[in-house]
């Protein structure tokens, strides 16, 4: 091979290597993104979208105690997010003024709903357990409602993980029926959401705004369909069903490998299809689902662009009308 050819070959390989290296999508801490600014019309449109009949996007958000990155702040959430469940607790104006202010901004201007999330249970609660059994559901339910209203939240998200608590099983259904008189679709104030996530409940689905399946590392559409079939037989309709991925563990890929109902395993972006996109695209055979989302969702901020998988999922589930 002539020297000129060798030099050209080396140069071509180096150029290719540099080019490929420049496509590295790993998190780069020094990348600085100029904050976007939006008009009043933009926010008006955003709120109109939030009020429309669409597939909602849900996120459990757990970190707001630091302010150095929008990835740890409510203001950094995707604008088109519908519901943010406060896995990191409820911010208050004294201890977390920035988080509190941003939460209010997101509620009022962006139309994002914030929910109180808790593991429902009373067995270790001396005050509740000291009451006669017939009074415990009301006392505990009133306490939950007070938290929602005192903090100006948009509802509650009960993480129902059965472990033998007095408030579980049949008493949990009674709790839902009690809360459902006040909030949720049958309550006096349906603007406040009544959400249960976790284990299936024995009844009371008609009182829920949404039931959320922790369908973590779901293999695909068949798995999601099987999960929904059992809930549907208990009285849950498809529009109140939200499926979620543990995106906190899988934000690097957007979930775990996912297969659609037609056997497709390719993402709309090209490459392998992963579960958050798969969940956003999936619908049960019974009709349109209520929504999709993820646990520890703020870690998707580290994707490039920020919240790539949530934002793309929202587009997949609700294609833009132009």
């Amino acid at each position: 091979m002539k020297l000129k050819n060798i030099i050209t070959l080396i140069f071509s390989v180096l150029t290719l290597a540099i080019g490929l290296a420049s496509c590295d999508t790993d998190v780069e801490n020094l990348q600085i993104q100029k904050p976007y600014t939006y008009s009043d019309k933009y926010y008006e449109d955003l709120r109109a979208y939030k009020k429309s009949d669409h597939v909602v996007c849900f996120m459990w958000f757990s970190d707001y105690l630091s302010s150095h990155s929008p990835g740890l702040r409510f203001k950094g959430l995707p604008d088109s997010l519908d519901i943010c469940s406060l896995w990191g607790g409820i911010p208050n104006p004294n201890d977390h003024p920035l988080a509190y202010e941003e939460m209010r901004f997101c509620q009022k201007v962006k139309g994002i709903k914030f929910t109180y999330v808790t593991f429902p249970g009373v067995s270790k609660d001396k005050e509740i357990m000291a009451l006669p059994e017939g009074e415990r559901v009301k006392a505990y339910g009133d306490r939950l409602l007070k938290i929602v209203y005192d903090n100006g939240l948009d509802g509650m998200d009960l993480d129902y993980e059965i472990h033998g608590d007095w408030m579980h099983g049949a008493n949990f259904v009674k709790l839902i029926e009690y809360l459902g008189q006040y909030i949720g679709p049958k309550g006096k104030d349906p603007s406040k959401m009544l959400i249960v996530d976790g284990y299936d409940i024995d009844g009371g689905y008609e009182y829920l705004t949404y039931f959320i399946s922790q369908a973590y590392h779901s293999s695909g559409a068949n798995d999601l369909q099987n999960r929904f079939n059992s809930l549907h037989s208990l009285g849950l309709d498809s529009k109140r069903y939200i499926v979620t991925e543990n995106i906190g563990d899988y934000y690097a890929t957007g979930g775990t490998p996912f297969t659609e109902v037609d056997g497709n395993t390719q993402s709309g972006l090209g490459g392998r299809l992963y579960s958050l996109e798969g969940m956003a695209r999936w619908n049960p055979v019974q009709g349109r689902k209520g929504g999709f989302g993820g646990f520890i969702g703020q870690r998707d901020y580290n994707s490039n662009p920020a919240y790539k998988w949530f934002r793309y999922g929202i587009q997949c589930a609700n294609p833009s009308v132009k």
């Binding site: 140069f11 071509s12 009020k51 995707p78 497709n264 009308v321």
Partner: protein, 331 residues
């Protein structure tokens, strides 16, 4: 072209590739176009076509069957500031455009065969959704003579009153009519009225004979209405002689169908020929069934008179065949 030029172009191509491979999309909320649109909100899988509905219509020896209409509302991206009247209509000019874009060869359905009901829908002030739906229906009585092929019926939003515009990307719905021919005596799409099942008491004496195959288990398990027991049906070879024959011990003059309940859809027949006979000698082919379900409901277009029913398995589950129950429908 000299060699230097070739090198230069090669290098340029490599560099261009590197830059083009870095193209990434930013996904965020777009400002809304204040528009009316149609959407099929469940068609969001990677390979699904939005606003594309398919219905199968079968020409049978006796009639034309299958769903013959679809209904859908219209939507607005923003609450209507005044009552918005949305007009829709069939536009057959879009068939050719669709075929070119999607590399398909769908035919146009003559417009006199398509009926549009509620072609004007109103989105009332403050709402996002029309109260009524437009209905696109096909006159089944008139399509019996149509050729067996696929027909496309495009429906589009023609106009809207008030401040809203018509969406540019979600203003059409395509209805694909797949015209098929069903020449045998078995429904491809089962009717709701299948007939009445024979009681367990009346099936006590029914028996089964087999060729190139056998029954492992108590054969009466098939006829007892008890889904917790079953028989195993191993097959030695697959050919025209292999058979599973049920003797119902008397002639049933008006059979409307057959019911197989397999252990599950992992232990079933996948394809079988279905025959009937009154004397176990002269057999009439009723049809060929292909079905991956764990429940086979074989429903006849025309009632059958038979004492014997024969099944020649062509394809079965890899896990073998386990049958919990066998019955027939009568009318």
């Amino acid at each position: 072209m000299n060699r230097k030029m070739k090198y230069a172009l090669s290098l340029l191509a490599v560099v261009s590739f590197c830059f083009s491979s870095c193209d990434e999309k930013i996904y965020d909320f777009d400002s809304l176009t204040e528009a009316v649109y149609v959407s099929s909100p469940t068609a969001t899988t990677v390979n699904s076509k939005p606003n594309f509905f398919t219905i199968d219509i079968f020409k049978t020896p006796f009639s034309v069957i299958g769903e013959s209409s679809i209904k859908f509302p219209v939507r607005s991206t923003v609450p209507a500031k005044s009552n918005a009247v949305v007009a829709l209509d069939v536009n057959n000019n879009l068939v050719e455009q669709f075929n070119q874009k999607n590399n398909t060869t769908y035919s146009t359905l003559p417009s006199e065969l398509v009926k549009v009901v509620n072609s004007q829908l109103t989105i009332q002030i403050g709402n996002y959704l029309s109260k009524d739906s437009v209905e696109i229906s096909i006159d089944k009585d008139k399509i019996a003579n149509l050729e067996v092929k696929d027909y496309l019926v495009p429906v589009e939003i023609k106009s809207v009153t008030g401040h809203l515009s018509v969406s540019g990307n979600m203003n059409k719905v395509y209805l694909l009519i797949k015209m098929k021919e069903d020449k045998d005596n078995i429904y491809n799409i089962n009717p709701s009225d299948k007939g009445t099942l024979v009681s367990a008491n009346d099936r006590k004496t029914w028996s089964v004979s087999t060729v190139n195959s056998s029954i492992n288990g108590v054969v009466t398990n098939l006829f007892d209405n008890n889904m917790s027991n079953y028989i195993y049906y191993p097959i030695n070879s697959f050919d025209d002689n292999t058979s599973f024959v049920v003797d119902m011990k008397k002639n049933y003059p008006s059979l409307s169908g057959i019911l197989f309940r397999f252990y599950s859809n992992s232990y079933n027949f996948r394809k079988a020929d279905v025959y009937s006979s009154e004397n176990n000698t002269d057999w009439t082919l009723q049809g060929v069934v292909e079905n991956n379900s764990g429940n086979w409901e074989i429903i006849f277009y025309s009632k059958v008179s038979a004492r014997y029913l024969k099944f020649i398995p062509r394809i079965v589950s890899n896990s073998g065949v386990y049958i919990n129950e066998f019955n027939v429908y009568t009318k």
